[in-house]
Each structure stands twice: as C-alpha cells, then as structure tokens.
Symmetry: C5
Subunit: 140 residues, 5 copies
C-alpha cells in the first residue's frame, strides 16, 4: 500500500519569507506483490521547479529471503531500468542519496514479493531570481 | 535513552565573526524497546535556518540478531516512512550523509529491540545577506 | 541486451524556459555473457555539455552466484579500469552516485555471466551565460 | 597508537598563490584496547577556518571477529554519540565522506579491541574575500 | 601491474573552449603481491590545479578470501593511513566518491595478495577567472 509523506507546503512560514530557497518534504511508498508499482506525482499546488530526491530503499522486517529488484518505469517508450537489488540475508537496504528524478516517477517491483519501502524527499526549489534578500544588518 | 549532543552555539567565537556561515553541532539519540521513539527539536536560542543533517544509523554491540526497521514519523497526518533496515549479522550500520530534515523530526523503531543509535548534526546556516566580509588584504 | 532510457529532451517545456539549467534523463543497459559490453553514446540532438552520471550497478535476480567484475574500457589506448565487483550472495548492488563520465563511455563485463544492470542519468547542462532570468516579482 | 598524517601546510606553494582556496591534508589514527581514544587537534600554525573531514573507518586485518563500536566524545557535557558499528565477518569498513567536524574531535572505542583505523583530511579553507584572482589572460 | 587511464587532455576541444571548467580523466591501477604499491603522478603537461578523485576500490574475481587492507603512504614523514579493508566473501568493493587527493599519491597493500583495483579520475580545474563566457544569445 503506497502512502504519502507529511507536512510542509509552500504556504509554510519557513518557505514564504524569501529566506529559504528550497523545501524538502519527506515522502515514501511501499511496494509488494499486492501493489507492485507506484507513481510519485508532482503536487499540483506547487508551481516551481520540483524533483523527487531519493533517500533509501529498504526491505520490511517480514520480507521473504529472496532477491528483490526495483526498477524505474519509463513515462514514454523504452525499457525499464533496474535500480536496486536487495535481499534480507545479504543487503536489506541501500542509500540512494544524490539520485534526483523529475516527477512523475514510477517504480515497479521486478522481482520479489516485498514489502519494499522507498523513501525520498520532494524538493521544491525557488530560483535565485525570486530571492528577496533581507536588508543588511550587523551580526548579533 | 535519548541523549543530546555537545558543544557549539551561535555565541561561539567561531560563529560570530562573519567569517563562518554554517555551524555543525553533533547530536544523537538511542532507540530501544524501552524508548522506541525520539524527537529532535530545534534549539530555541537558534533563530536562523536550521536542519538536522543525518550522519549514520548503527546498532549497538549488544543488539539481538533481528531486523531493526527505523521509520520517520510525520508531524501531521500521513503514514510513517521506513528509512533504514539493519541486522547485526547482515548490515550493522548505514551512512545517511546527505539526508537533511527540518526539525522537529521524530524517529520510531518499527521493528527490533535495539539499541539503535542515530547520529546527526544540527546545521544552522546564516544566509549570505548577513555575511560581513573581512576587509581585503594581501595573502600571507 | 542493452536498452535506452526514456523521456526528456532539450525540446521539453521543462528545459526551454530559461528556468532550468540541467536536464537529467534516466538511462540504463544490461550486460551478460551474450552481450558483454555496451557503449553509452551522446544523443546527437544535444549540443551542450553532456555527462553520463552513474547511479547504481546491480545484479539481476537470476544471476549465478559468482563474482561479476565490471570495467570501463578506454576510448583510446590504455588498459581497462575495473570499477565494480559484485556477487549475489555477498554484495548484489552498489551505488555510484557522484561518478560522472564524458560520453562515449564503454562498459565491459570482465568476469561473471550477468545479468548486470547499469543505471545512470544523461546530464545536459546549460551554462549560466545562457540563463535568462525571469523578471523579478514579489513572493507569493 | 595514533599517528599523524603527512605533508601539506599553508606555506606550500599550492596554498599561497591565491589560486587555491582549500587545502586537504590526509590524517589518521588507530584505536585499540591499548589506546581506546584519540583527539584530532587543530594544527596551531593554521589560522583560518578548519574542519576534520572524515573519509573511512576500517578494521585491521588482525581484528577479532567481534562488534566494534566507535563513538564521538563531546568536548563539553553530554553523552557520547555512536558513529559506526563494524565487524570483520560482516562489515569491515564504512565510508563517511561528507561528515565534517570542527576540531578538537575525540573518538573512542566503545566496544571491540581493534585495531580500528580512522582516516580523514584536515580541511583548511580560505574565504573568498581573501581570494586574489589572476589577471585575465587568453586560453592556452 | 599498474596501468594508466585513457583519453582526454587539455588540448581536447571539450576543454579548450572556455565553456568547460573541469576535466575528468578516468585512471586506475592494480596492486598485488608482485607490485604492492603505486604512485599516481600529476600529468606534466597539465599546468592548472589538479586532484586525484577516487571512485572505487574493488577486488579481482580471483582474489584469495583474505582481508585486503589498502593504505595511503605519506609523501613526507609520518605513518601510512589505512583507507580500506576488503574481503571477497564479506565486502568485495567500496565506493570512495568524494575523496580527493593532491598528486603525487601513493597507495600500498598493507595486507592481502590482491589483485586490488583502484579507480579514480584525474580532475583538472580551470579557475573561474580564466572563464570566457559565450556572448549572450536567446534560448533555442
């Protein structure tokens, strides 16, 4: 069962003051035999540049001891791209920090019955041209 | 038993001179059956932008040989996001450098009896508009 | 059998507006006994700076339990450079985020019968001098 | 027995020309039952911003097959923060690239008899305001 | 037997146009009982800033199942710094992306009979003051 992350939106005080240029909102999904694919959509109310920044892929504690292969499914034509191979008794998780993808992004379980958890952060960047600097002041 | 990190504050000489833009303060907590969740709060005296930069998640030497699953708990509605799956005989630790979260951040042990240690650094950034450059001088 | 990634081109709205400076297009290939080498070419219609940013190298679920060694093959003279050593029962995948190579880039299976999957992203950067900032406007 | 790294100082030609803004000097220490803690000090002759950038933590070939837990010891009050858990037959090393700490930094072996090796680089940064650009010239 | 990487030099079209600021040239070496140390030298024809950016360290498919410890040897006085501990049946490779060293850099096999492969990229950076921007033009 896929699930959405929590909290944080462009209307947050943290975001609106011209002081913060980037917002990171944790997000995740769960893949298994019952639901073997999931698509991360772009939140509609966000109108600036967006990315899905992957964080980790990890197996659930109850996953069977078999190879789980996770793949990226293309939005258009082309073959899927295997991204991770995990097995509880060998490698139960992997860090994918630094992998950023443009939504919509679809993941599919090519092998294994899961559960496999994908964690990431939605990144919304405001370009520097929008940046309103605070008036200069002396250091506290 | 969770515990706080040490040292370093915005009143440190390192921080106040206009020369250093970012402060990294090590911080950590311990999760186990006795205390299965912990929330990293934002230090109140810090008023500038802050992040919790994760560093590593590792098992204690005495942890039972079972899967330990650590999850992020949302501040608002929504399901928790599993972030790491560790087991002493398979993978006793993982590096999560590059994962930054906005406090308050709550971690919970979804599976396993621990101890699981989370290490990170509180990052306090001063925006460039506050930056007071030193007067130019010739190189030594 | 090698395969190409999907989607995204310099004619995409995402790319053309002067707002986005970099395009990441997922791409991958599969190496095995049948096809033990593959060359990532530079897409011809792209005329700006390009890189192949590696993401992960992972074994297929059906790979034999033997060591698989993947090497980079030089475009000119010189010996190949081993880049990864994987084995299903020991280490079924590795993350190579941060490794960027200039196409054409050729990978070859030095040992093992595969399948070995290489995932990456074609990175096309527009230099800042091409950047057309949006007219300034007040924050929403 | 702890040991110091080698080479490189602010008086090096590499450092003094205004062309290079950052200096990386390899450094390391060894922890074991005989010496279970070590403090990385800041070289006194360096007067600019400094950091200890961790690189790897690895076990010696002769380490006993037991869990080794390495922790950061606070300079002031507060509990130590476990940073890494290694075992020869499970995970004999870990990469900690991206973890930077402000000296003095003290590491201690909480569990295990070692040897455990910590490698890092002393980073000395010169701020951009000190930067003297070369006069412009045509490309070679 | 150590070996040099391939391709790419400052006289390449990619490098000379003022458009590209950094050149990455893959490079590697092999260490074993027969040749247990190797020094990466700085290519003489390169006159700008240079670094050896490490990528991966991996064992050959035929390596004996023993611990292999790789260390950095100082150019001047001081003890060597162990950097990686690998074993075929436990951890056959490691990623060292983010570790950059100033040539000459000497690696030595402290334990194990190899083969151990070190892969990296020679990085030659041109400083921004040399940068000749293209004349501004409208987006395609």
């Amino acid at each position: 069962m896929p699930f959405m992350g929590w909290g944080g939106s462009p209307s947050d005080p943290l975001y609106g003051g011209g002081l913060h240029l980037t917002l990171f909102v944790p997000i995740g999904c769960e893949l298994s035999s019952e639901r073997s694919s999931y698509t991360f959509q772009m939140p509609e109310e966000w109108q600036c540049e967006q990315q899905l920044a992957l964080r980790t892929i990890c197996l659930g504690a109850q996953a069977r001891d078999e190879f789980h292969v996770l793949e990226l499914v293309p939005n258009e034509e082309g073959a899927a791209v295997p991204l991770a191979t995990l097995k509880p008794s060998v490698l139960p998780m992997v860090t994918l920090v630094g992998v950023e993808l443009t939504p919509p992004v679809t993941f599919r379980l090519r092998a294994g019955s899961g559960p496999v958890y994908i964690s990431g952060q939605h990144v919304a960047s405001k370009t520097p041209t929008h940046y309103q600097p605070l008036p200069p002041h002396s250091d506290p």
